[in-house]
């Protein structure tokens, strides 16, 4: 297996306020390894608003602009404009929102920003629920998951929204998925996104949440890997909204991924079969988009 060495001097400092095993914290570390220190982060309300530390501390060495929940796209746009007007156009603007801040309340602002093709990297770190407020469902919550607002037998019966397709529909230069379970791939994608400077780039990062998913903290990366290996969360890129490339082909069963996650423990064999069928169909669909033989 390839060895990956992370920079010792990371823009992310060693102390932060994430839970043990927090996938969102790992995600930031990898992202900044790809982007470097000439980066400014726009941070709407989310767990990351906590992870970044309370006044007067910061878990990042780079500037952070915390913002209201719905505003990541617009705030990043305003900052971008200011940087250009002050001769600092070479600085990367990284908009870093959770799934709630991307799929739900922040979708309009994000859509507006990418329709203008703002020169920013928009990231959704996806932990599949509103974690900061105590694990409520979002439209990124997958079929089958229990949350505090889809409790007991009322576990979520609707599917996860496909955010990459929504962004691709804006025909932005670059949209991709990445996972904290595939560090080298993820860092390479952030480097690629940085190199595609000039327009809107979107990266959907799968970031496990031990607290909300009810998995052991040390299982964070393993579960994220299994999501890719089972094609629940495929790794792929979309260039100019139309050219799809799949980066990894999973061979495992969905059951292996679901197993051991408290959030799915209630599912019957039939429910799991339903999910497997959904995943298979979506995987086939993705392969057709990527013009792979199916």
């Amino acid at each position: 297996m390839a060895q990956l060495t992370l920079d010792k001097e990371s823009p992310m400092l060693s102390g932060h306020l994430g839970c043990p095993g927090c996938g969102a914290a790992i995600a930031m570390k990898f992202a900044l390894q790809g982007l470097g220190e000439k980066t400014m982060v726009v941070l709407p309300a989310s767990c990351w608003g906590v992870i970044s530390g309370p006044y007067p501390q910061s878990s990042l060495k780079i500037p952070i602009m915390n913002m209201a929940f719905a505003t990541a796209g617009a705030a990043a746009s305003g900052l971008r404009a200011a940087l250009e007007m002050t001769g600092r156009g070479d600085t990367t603007v990284l908009s870093w929102a959770g799934d709630g801040g991307t799929f739900d309340i922040g979708l309009q602002s994000l859509s507006g920003a990418v329709e203008r093709n703002e020169d920013c990297i928009f990231v959704c770190y996806d932990n599949e629920a509103y974690m900061n407020t105590g694990v409520q469902r979002s439209s990124a919550t997958p079929f089958g998951m229990r949350t505090t607002t889809t409790p007991g037998g009322r576990w979520k019966r609707t599917r996860k929204k496909n955010i990459v397709e929504i962004l691709a529909a804006h025909r932005i230069p670059y949209a991709a998925t990445a996972s904290i379970g595939f560090a080298a791939d993820m860092i390479a994608k952030f480097k690629k996104a940085a190199a595609l400077k000039g327009g809107s780039r979107f990266i959907h990062v799968f970031a496990s949440c031990p607290t909300g998913w009810r998995i052991p903290s040390e299982a964070s990366v393993k579960v994220a890997r299994l999501a890719v290996e089972s094609n629940v969360f495929p790794l792929y890129e979309v260039e100019d909204g139309v050219r799809y490339t799949i980066n990894h082909h999973g061979r495992r069963k969905v059951a292996e991924y679901l197993e051991g996650q408290g959030r799915f423990r209630h599912l019957s064999a039939q429910d799991i079969a339903t999910i497997q069928a959904q995943v298979d169909a979506q995987w086939a669909f993705l392969r057709r988009r990527a013009q792979e033989e199916t």
């Binding site: 530390g53 006044y55 913002m67 705030a75 600085t91 309009q108």
Partner: protein
């Protein structure tokens, strides 16, 4: 140079002269003319600024906040529903201590849809930490906008420049448009006290525990408290440059007045005429124009009203369950003074209904004839038939 401009364009001219660097805006009647003109200036190079066509007012203010924290002079404009939609971000802008300037055209809130003037939209944002300045005419709109940038940057507070729909925004008047050099002397290039900077990285707007939050709010209040003096200081410089002196509060014939009428916005112009006419007939009447509503210039208001026997506040706005909003503020300013004058609260002209000299005469007469206010607020010009029809 004197030019003929509608009120909206008087604002646009000031924004151009202020060399704003980022503008974000979303259309809403009757604000659109302001940003349409600015969009033209950006397109033809008269203004070197980025113009962001955002997808909502919430985003317009969010983008202005991003730009301002990025270290540039930022401007937006809105009205009514747009302002209400921005509400969350108004707190964010003020709490972030960003000197954003916004033009806000007073328009009624629905339902029913009504695009005409009414101050309830801006006044219901009074607790957000924005300085609010109300304009009387086209010249006032231009001057106040220039003052707004100076004041905002002096105090690190956002400023709302407020103008009446149509009566001001769409009314053409001669306006003295100053030359660029003089404006540059009033408003040197924006030098932000703090900004997002990779060389000096800070975490802005982060979590703040109870042990630290209150002091931040208190500091915001200290800045607010300095606003009236700051305004006067800037106004003196303004007068040196342009020969006019903007005023936060203007008292006309208040010194010996028995009854003082208190107004804001375009009603003030009408009221000037009424006061002149009444004075000619020997009536001891005065006029107090309130230009600055936040911070409320309580000391000045107290001083100018200290000799009046009665005060009549004309409000083109209303706080349901309370009363006219300027009247509430005037009452609050006076209430701790022994033997202060009774304050009559008149509500008139909501949703763009005319306030004519006759309306103001009626208000004056009622005040003169009545010893003390008969009610918390008195609605002027209601049609009894319509009221009966809709009564529950």
């Amino acid at each position: 140079m004197k030019q003929v401009h509608e009120g909206s364009h008087a604002v646009s001219e000031a924004v151009r002269l202020a060399r704003v660097q980022v503008i974000s805006a979303y259309p809403i009647t009757p604000q659109t003319h302001i940003v349409e003109a600015l969009s033209d200036y950006c397109a033809d190079g008269r203004l070197d600024a980025r113009f962001l066509c955002v997808e909502s007012e919430h985003s317009a203010m969010a983008a202005a906040i991003g730009a301002s924290l990025g270290g540039v002079r930022a401007f937006t404009a809105t009205s009514s529903h747009g302002l209400a939609y921005m509400h969350e971000l108004l707190h964010w802008a003020a709490g972030s201590r960003l000197p954003i300037v916004m033009a806000e055209v007073n328009r009624a809130l629905g339902p029913g849809w009504n695009i005409w003037t009414d101050q309830t939209d801006s006044l219901s944002q009074r607790d957000t930490g924005w300085i609010q300045l109300y304009c009387e005419d086209g010249q006032d709109a231009l001057d106040t906008t220039l003052m707004a940038f100076g004041l905002a940057e002096m105090l690190n507070l956002p400023v709302m420049v407020v103008l009446d729909a149509f009566f001001l925004s769409h009314t053409y008047e001669p306006v003295d448009v100053p030359d660029q050099d003089s404006v540059d002397r009033l408003l040197p290039p924006f030098a932000p006290r703090f900004r997002l900077d990779c060389e000096h990285a800070f975490n802005f707007g982060q979590m703040v525990p109870p042990a630290r939050y209150m002091e931040m709010r208190y500091n915001l209040q200290l800045a607010m408290q300095a606003a009236e003096a700051g305004f006067a200081q800037l106004a003196a410089k303004f007068e040196e440059l342009f020969g006019r002196r903007p005023q936060a509060v203007e008292a006309l014939a208040c010194a010996d007045a028995q009854i003082v009428l208190v107004t804001s916005g375009t009603v003030t112009s009408t009221c000037r005429q009424v006061v002149r006419d009444l004075r000619r007939n020997g009536e001891k009447v005065g006029l107090l124009k309130i230009g600055m509503f936040r911070p409320f210039p309580a000391d000045s208001v107290r001083r100018h009203l200290s000799r009046a026997a009665k005060v009549a506040v004309v409000d083109r706005n209303f706080s349901f369950g309370a009363g006219g909003i300027f009247a509430q503020e005037v009452r609050a300013a006076l209430c701790n003074r022994q033997g202060h004058a009774p304050v009559f609260s008149y509500v008139a002209g909501l949703g763009g209904r005319d306030i004519t000299p006759r309306t103001l005469m009626e208000i004056y007469d009622q005040t003169r004839r009545t010893a003390t206010p008969p009610d918390e607020s008195i609605w002027i010009g209601l049609d009894a038939e319509q009221v009966k029809t809709w009564r529950n």
